[in-house]
Structures are given as C-alpha cells and as structure tokens.
C-alpha cells in the first residue's frame, strides 16, 4: 500500500469493493454473488392487496408437504391481471415445486390455489377469496 496517508490509503480497498460490486450488480443482475436487491422495489399505490393461498381440503397448507400434483396449472398460481401481489416469491416457489412434481393420477387431497384479496375498510381487513386453479395432490 502507498505510504502517503495511511488513513486515505485504507479507504481505497473500500472504494474498489464498492465500485466492483455496485456496477457489477447493475451490469450482471441476479447472478450470485451479484444482485440488484429489487425484492419488493416495484410497487405502486393500490387499495387492494393479495396474499397467495394454498389450501389442502380447504385448509391452509404447505406446498412442500405434498410430493405429487395432478390437475393444477402452475401458470395460474400467478396473480391475474389487475390483482396486485407483493408476495411474488411465494407464488414462484410454490408454482416451481408443483411444476417439478407432477402426478399421473388424481390424488386423495383436494388442492385449491389462489389469492386472499384484502383491503382496509374503516380500520378492518376485508377478505375476498379468489381461487385461480384446483387439482389434487399425493402426500
């Protein structure tokens, strides 16, 4: 390291680290170790939100509790046009799991996938369930 000013010299690696990671991430995008950290950055004002739901025989369940799925359309896991949902990672994770675990026959558990559309009415949350695809699953 240069012996001019130890303090300033020690800032140089920080500046290099900043430039490499900042511009590397802007250029490369979502490719580890780079990222643009845009998780929920794209939002706009809306009066109604949507929470992805996954129901097994009508009860909330975890998608990974099932090993094979029949009749569900992973594309329809996504929020329909006009429905704002900031929990996209849940949708993508669930649809990827279902797409990777197809079944050749209907299973014993009825599955419903959709959204719990919520809005704030006089300080209370109003729920409106929207089912976008149905099918069945094997535990």
């Amino acid at each position: 390291m240069p012996a001019l000013n130890p303090f300033m010299a020690m800032q140089r690696p920080a500046l290099i680290g900043f430039v490499v990671y900042f511009f590397g991430s802007l250029l490369i995008g979502e490719c580890f170790p780079f990222s643009r950290f845009s998780m929920y950055a794209n939002i706009s004002p809306h009066a109604q939100g949507a929470i992805p739901i996954f129901l097994a025989n009508g009860v909330a369940a975890e998608v990974r509790d099932f090993n094979a799925f029949y009749g569900l359309d992973p594309i329809k896991f996504r929020a329909p046009q006009g429905v704002a949902c900031s929990l996209g990672y849940l949708v993508e994770e669930r649809s990827a799991w279902v797409a990777q675990h197809p079944a050749s026959a209907a299973g014993p558990v009825q599955i419903s996938v959709g959204f719990d559309q919520i809005s704030l009415v006089e300080g209370e949350i109003k729920h409106d369930i929207l089912i976008t695809t149905t099918g069945s699953a094997w535990p």
Partner: protein, 244 residues
C-alpha cells in the same frame, strides 16, 4: 487472543448464515453440507485474522460450492429467499479476496485483515446503495405514496402473530406513518453508500440497525446476519478515526 465484540457480531452473522445453509442442505442434499463446511472453515480462518493457511483453504471451500449452490438455488426459490444470505457471503468473499491480494503484495497479516475489511465495507456500501436505487428506479415517486408501502405492510399483517398483526394493521391504517417509513428506508439505504468512509460507519451501523428492526417488525424479513455483519465491520479493530 483478546475477545473483541466486533468479532462476536461477525461470528454470529456467520453462524446465522450457516443456519440458512442447513435449510439449503434440506432442500438441496449434500451441497448444503459443502456450503456449511466452507463457511465454518472460513469462519475459523477469519477468527484468526488471516494468520493461518486455513484462511485461504476456507476461501476456496466457500466460493466454489456457494456459487454452485446459488445457481441451483435460483431454480427453486425466488430471490427474496436467498437475499438474506447474499450480504454475509459477499462480505466474506471480499474479506478473503482483499486479504489475499494484500498478502500477495507482501502486506503484514494485520494489514491483510484491514484491507479485507475495507473491501467488505465497500461491498456493504454498494449493497445498500443498490437497494435504494432499485426502489427509486422500480417505483419512482410512487414508493413514497402511503398506499404503496401501506399495502405491503397490510398483506404481511394477515397470518402474523397477534402483536405484530396489530402493529402492522395500525401502521397500514396511518398514511403519514407509511410515507415516513418509506422515506426513512430510502434515506438510510442511500446513506449506506457512505459506509465506504470510515468515520461514517459507526453512526450508519445504528441507522442500519433501526432499518432492519423496522423491516423485521413491519415486513417480517429478519436479516439478523446483515445487522451482525454491519455492526461487526463498523466496530472492527482498525476502524477508529484516522487510525488506518
């Protein structure tokens, strides 16, 4: 070796990240084990401040399997799932590579550690700068509208534990609070760029702590490892004003 609180924080950050890797182990089989071994090895090496050849073995064990893991992980989960792991890992890589380059130039072990820490501070600054830029680029002025952040918080009130649900509902019901938090998050993330400058690091660490506490309470994303890494770096030896 004297115990330094900053090492405790960084060590805790490592262990929390290791916990995340165990989840990867569950999802991905043996790859998570490799990742855990790499982190552990690097953690041991880091603890010794780059004085041991194990440090560099740790870097290799860390970088290779984690890179493979991240590629595979991207097919299974959304980016939000592994964002919590990115900062500690890139920080560790920067520390390792920075220290390695300094060693290559014949620097003393102490200087190797300091160069590595400085490079890591640059990565931290870039990370928060990128987060701010993503929001301003993606949402523009709409980020500050009460119904934007308010709806995000409201969505996360459903199914949350009772106390948190009430808190989130209360904040979502007050537009001024939503705008305040939206502005505050952008302000702190933008200010995070100043982490490249040593005198700003300790005040920034407290702002970052406030930011992540707010995110955890209102959004449910607990980035404990990020807090540990930022505080650990800000209070590392050699971070005192002008000491170099």
């Amino acid at each position: 070796m004297a115990l330094n609180p900053s090492r405790l924080f960084l060590g805790l950050g490592l262990w929390v990240t290791l916990g995340g890797s165990l989840n990867t182990l569950r999802l991905m089989g043996g790859l998570g084990l490799w990742m855990g071994a790499g982190l552990l090895s690097f953690g041991i090496g880091f603890w010794r401040w780059y004085k041991n050849p194990l440090d560099y073995l740790g870097i290799f064990l860390l970088v290779l399997p984690i890179s493979v893991w991240a590629w595979l992980d991207a097919f299974y989960t959304h980016q939000g799932e592994h964002h919590g792991k990115i900062l500690p890992m890139t920080v560790m890589m920067a520390m390792g590579l920075g220290g390695w380059l300094a060693r290559w130039q014949g620097a003393s072990p102490q200087l190797q550690a300091q160069v590595g820490q400085e490079a890591a501070c640059g990565v931290v600054a870039a990370t928060y700068g990128l987060a701010a830029l993503a929001k301003l680029w993606g949402s523009g002025a709409q980020w500050f509208a009460p119904d934007s952040l308010g709806m995000l918080i409201l969505e996360r009130s459903v199914g949350a534990p009772a106390g948190l649900a009430e808190l989130r509902l209360m904040v979502a019901s007050h537009p001024a609070l939503c705008s305040f938090f939206a502005f505050g998050s952008i302000f702190i993330e933008t200010a995070g760029i100043l982490f490249v400058w040593a005198p700003a690091r300790r005040p920034l660490a407290f702002l970052v702590l406030a930011l992540h506490t707010g995110i955890a309470l209102l959004m449910g994303y607990v980035y404990l490892e990020w807090i540990c890494v930022v505080i650990g770096l800000a209070y590392s030896p050699g971070q005192r004003r002008g000491s170099g």
